[in-house]
């Protein structure tokens, strides 16, 4: 079951990556990047469940914070620049 969880999360990551490559606007790419972060943090958490060791959980917390900050900064940037 853990393998299936990994597979589903990686598939979601790849689909977000396709949207990020296709664009067409900067806002689409930011949304896709946000989704990739969510899927990546999910993989980190599932890895902690898989191995039973929580060494990567702090990375998950940190990535959640950094993802929010980068998204809001890029949102300001889009509002000024357009497209």
């Amino acid at each position: 079951m853990i393998e299936a969880t990994y597979a589903v999360l990686v598939l979601a990551f790849v689909l977000f990556g396709v949207r990020m490559a296709k664009g067409p606007t900067l806002a689409d790419r930011v949304i896709a990047l946000d989704g990739m972060l969510v899927a990546g943090i999910g993989v980190l958490l599932v890895n902690a469940m898989d191995t039973g060791r929580g060494a990567f959980l702090q990375v998950a917390v940190l990535l959640a914070l950094v993802g929010f900050i980068s998204t809001s900064v890029i949102a300001r940037f889009i509002e000024g620049r357009g497209e």
């Binding site: 979601a12 949207r19 943090i41 929580g54 702090q58 914070l65 620049r81």
Partner: protein
């Protein structure tokens, strides 16, 4: 076992968000798909992982990540939607009530 089922369910919700982001036609609907499905999906994954872990340190880390995502994902989605609406050249379509129509004419960023 319960944790594994919860984590799988959350992963499926994240996959649904990815399909929505890939297939929906414009920025606002993609943002809608991402932020609703993946917030719940991520929280389910984190709670499922917290079920399976043993030490209190690990459990609080997983739940802290979940809490941070609950707090920040909707705010980030709101910021992105607002800036995409106000920016020039990003196509969007609002069906019924357009509550940002005033902000569009008044703002000078």
């Amino acid at each position: 076992m319960v944790g594994q089922v919860l984590a799988l369910f959350g992963a499926v919700l994240t996959l649904l968000a990815a399909i929505g982001v890939l297939r929906f036609p414009d920025v606002l609907s993609r943002m809608h798909a991402l932020t609703k499905a993946s917030t719940l999906g991520f929280v389910l994954v984190a709670v499922g992982v917290a079920f399976e872990l043993r030490t209190a340190n690990d459990i609080t880390s997983a739940l802290l990540a979940a809490g941070l995502q609950i707090l920040t994902l909707p705010v980030a989605a709101n910021l992105i939607a607002r800036s995409a609406y106000l920016a020039e050249g990003i196509p969007h379509r609002v069906d019924t009530v357009d509550e940002l129509a005033d902000a569009r004419t008044d703002t000078d960023p």
